[in-house]
């Protein structure tokens, strides 16, 4: 299990290769990557604020639960903060398991919980000003399925 909260850009390819190289014994790897949506070209930048200390703890709790519940052989969460440009990766997760069903379920669980339970806040900057991204009811509702 590896959890990283960083301001630096995320090298998806390198992280994916490292994760796969360490996944000896697994049969399935699922990754999810969240990108900064460009909102049809109107977005200038996205600023992500977080709660140092609590962020790492919250992600570790969620990831440990996913690992136990779906018998993951490994899990990775990388989440960025600070100023990001359109189309840049915001975050990625990876799950490794013996079979695909568990790797998929754990990845969806991780994403649902990171959305609403990891202390990050996104602000979209466009020509018309800055706006905090509102939490979606659908994201809170998604937690009920687990």
């Amino acid at each position: 299990m590896r959890i990283v909260v960083q301001a630096a850009p995320l090298n998806l390819g390198a992280e994916t290769n490292t994760f796969a190289a360490n996944a000896k014994g697994a049969g399935a790897i699922v990754t999810f990557t969240g990108l900064v949506r460009d909102n049809g070209g109107t977005l200038t930048a996205m600023e992500i604020e977080h709660y140092p200390g609590m962020t790492e703890k919250a992600i570790a709790t969620i990831t440990t639960e996913a690992t136990t519940r779906w018998s993951l052989t490994d899990a990775l969460v990388i989440h960025r903060f600070g100023r990001l440009a359109a189309n840049e990766p915001i975050m990625m997760i990876a799950t490794a398991a013996l079979h695909r069903t568990n790797a998929f379920a754990a990845a969806e669980f991780l994403m649902d919980y990171l959305k609403s339970r990891a202390p990050f806040w996104k602000k979209e900057i466009s020509a018309s000003g800055a706006k905090w991204v509102a939490a979606k009811d659908a994201d809170e509702t998604a937690l009920n399925r687990w």
């Binding site: 604020e49 709660y51 609590m54 989440h79 975050m91 990891a118 990050f120 996104k122």
Partner: protein, 82 residues
Amino acid sequence: MINVIYFAWVRERIGLPRERIETNAATVLDLIDELSAREARYAAAFADRASLRVALDQKLSSFDAPLIDVQEVAFFPPMTGG
């Protein structure tokens, strides 16, 4: 004395990221009421309770939780990670 931290638009409305507060508030709700009564910027930040979340010592908590032995209270909007 308790450390109080604000994030996102709660921070912007209150106008500072953190402060140390002398309080005898027994619960989170008491602290919110005490601060809201103190200045308009606090009242504005805490007005919409449904859009407010609280963490006690870096753990998501409820408004009626007691503050005894708590070192750090954080107020923020619903999280938008991922």
